[in-house]
């Protein structure tokens, strides 16, 4: 409808139009394109400008190029809009822009002053466009490329923030939007990592001496040793699934003093093999997590049977549940675990480090 009105106006006014100078005709066209933009007719505004101008030409007025870029931004054609902005900066603000970039590289954004207000506005729009491109192309470009989009967006925000004369403060929303997007990505993206671990481990074995009469005498045994493990973790922002296998080599002290038996054996070699599936949750703000594990452990001890007795429990298969706490620092995790396993007479303890590859 708006186009029809404009077309009708054109024909009605053609005699007058023909008499107008080129400059005046361009001004009228620009005003019409602006009118379309203000009415939300971005595609039509853009077509009108594209029909008249070559955006690669130095002859094209800056206003027309900027308006076209704004049209593209509204049409969510962020890459094209950003390309047009780059062209505007290259062809219209090369000197000022190069000076700003030099100052930024050497001293950061704080000392940059006297940037033309129009260029500050363009930087603001460029920051916005780059932040949108970062989000739009997140899964389509390499990690380096997308990080570059983000870095540039934040750089322009920083420069704009240091210009006292610039009054539009909506640039403050750009870093927040990027942060929110990153957070969302973290929440949604599962990351798979291989890890290796080492831990100090302790438990208590439950052993029974069977007497010929059928009576049982329980033996106490304290065990401690070193565990080596490997596994996979699948994690996103809040949740982590863990599957870990561990081999433990340990030493036990076993004994029992009673009226019927005196049994004591230090330095008993014990080994175990365990699988520890676990679910961990980062409750507050990352870097530390709580969780539960459901271990299955096979344990074998070289306990000596006293003459005339049968020792029950030298090898066992134990299952149970554990309570895990983890603290993360880059690729490292310090973890502690307290578990209750069947066929073990007290709690199972573990403290160690994991390294994620």
């Amino acid at each position: 409808m708006v186009l029809r009105i404009i077309a009708l106006s054109f024909f009605l006014c053609f005699p007058v139009w023909a008499k107008l100078s080129k400059k005046e005709r361009d001004q009228n066209l620009f005003n019409d394109a602006k009118l379309l933009y203000s009415r939300g007719k971005y595609r039509e505004s853009l077509r009108m400008l594209e029909a008249r101008y070559n955006f690669k030409s130095k002859e094209t007025p800056s206003g027309a190029m900027i308006l076209a870029a704004w049209d593209l931004e509204k049409l969510e054609e962020y890459v094209q809009a950003q390309n047009l902005i780059a062209e505007i900066i290259r062809s219209r603000f090369a000197s000022s822009h190069n000076s700003v970039m030099r100052q930024y590289k050497s001293d950061g954004a704080e000392g940059i002053e006297g940037v033309p207000l129009k260029l500050v506005e363009i930087y603001h729009r460029r920051a916005f466009l780059l932040s949108k491109i970062y989000q739009q192309l997140y899964f389509k470009v390499s990690a380096e490329k997308r990080e570059d989009f983000k870095r540039q967006a934040l750089m322009y925000v920083e420069i704009v923030a240091n210009q006292d004369d610039y009054e539009d403060e909506t640039y403050e929303e750009i870093p927040k939007e990027i942060e929110a997007f990153d957070q969302k990505i973290k929440e949604q993206t599962w990351v798979s990592q291989f890890f290796m671990s080492t831990a100090w481990t302790s438990w208590r074995d439950r052993l029974d001496l069977l007497v010929a009469s059928g009576d049982r005498i329980s033996i106490k045994s304290s065990v401690r040793g070193l565990s080596l493990g490997a596994g996979w973790s699948f994690q996103k922002l809040r949740w982590r699934l863990l599957l870990e296998s561990q081999f433990t080599y340990a030493s036990a002290v076993a004994g029992r003093e009673s009226s019927t038996l005196s049994y004591f054996e230090p330095d008993v070699k014990v080994w175990s093999l365990g699988i520890w599936p676990a679910v961990h949750y980062r409750p507050f703000s990352g870097d530390a997590s709580l969780g539960i594990s459901i271990p299955v452990v096979y344990r074998n001890g070289s306990y000596t049977e006293p003459a005339g007795f049968v020792l029950e429990g030298k090898s066992i298969l134990a299952v149970g549940y554990g309570f895990d706490m983890n603290w993360d620092l880059n690729q490292w995790t310090f973890f502690s675990r307290v578990a209750n396993l069947s066929s073990m007479s007290s709690s199972y303890w573990q403290f160690g480090l994991r390294y994620h590859f």
């Binding site: 106490k220 004994g255 003093e257 409750p283 507050f284 990352g286 870097d287 603290w327 007290s346």
Partner: protein, 375 residues
Amino acid sequence: MLCSLNAWAYPNFIGLGYTSCLTCHYNPMGNGPLTDYGRALGATTVSDRIFWDKETSEDEIGQKSGFLYRQPSLDWIRPSLNYRGLELIKSYGQKSQENEYITMQASANVVLRFGPQDNKDKFIIVLEGGYAPTPRSNKSSTEENYRSREHYIGYRFNQSWGLYAGLMDKAYGIRVPDHIAFSRISTQTTMNDQTHGLMIHFTKPEYEWAAHFFAGNLSQEAALRVKGASLTGEYTLNHKVRLGGSLMTGKSTYLDQSHVSTHARLGFGKGNSIMGEIGLNKKTILNSQSTTNGRYAFLQGHVMAKRGLFTLLTTEYYVPNTELKNEVMRIGPGFQYFPSQGIELRVDIYNTRVFSQTSVSEDSWDLTGQVHLWF
């Protein structure tokens, strides 16, 4: 060192970004009453807000964090009340199970602030008196149950230097609120081990140290008073990592002792932390000239499940006498909850295991529940 016996702010708050105790406490080593800032912080950042409606802003909660939940009206005086009770279940679930409720502390304290108007805390007098239980390890103690728990004068020459004189806790190691921790019992820096002395404190963002010269608790019999000195310091590696070390030597008529330790406090994310301390103890009984060497390790991790609620795991290692080769390990998962400013609830399980080359003993299981109120 660093942070509170009276447990209004703890050394694990490095996880919340607070490295130095002086930020919140009148005592730069972190004991006793809180400053106005410390109370406001405790009411907002540390505690849950279950007793406040949604409309109440954090600023309002902070403003009402004074004595009896009021905004202080006088700027030269800061009173407070403090209560701590413990339900102790020893040998939980066993035939020998014992239940006992212990009032560990019931006291009133007052801070008099005589500094200039723009820095009232420059010159302070701290007085705290009240009930302290007879130590379980020394039931025959003749010490009064109602007594001064601390009283000292503090003067800060500038932001860096401060001088404190009076009855205070000894400056040594990480002052965790777990007063049964081996790191505190074996070094005699637990809840009733205050001493009269003079402490010099120096702090900068990069590091902090204190030298403490003490003459024993003058309310004790002269023969029991431990006279000596301690030196403790921390270096700030970054805003969430502090490394430290401590030395202490002391002598009474009966006992000569020296201690050395190193420690670290690390913050992770928001509110999460790990603290560790390892130390060596040397004690000589002067009558018999028999010397005992011991060692300990303390490791405690906190995970902040939500504002005010911490899950923690405490692991301890202790060798009272290295010649006997008996090693004690204790592991204690627990919960600590601050439902609102002035209220702390804590539950801990302690599983103790002894490793020996000459005998085997059963694990012991103890359970504690604590309530701590301060107004």
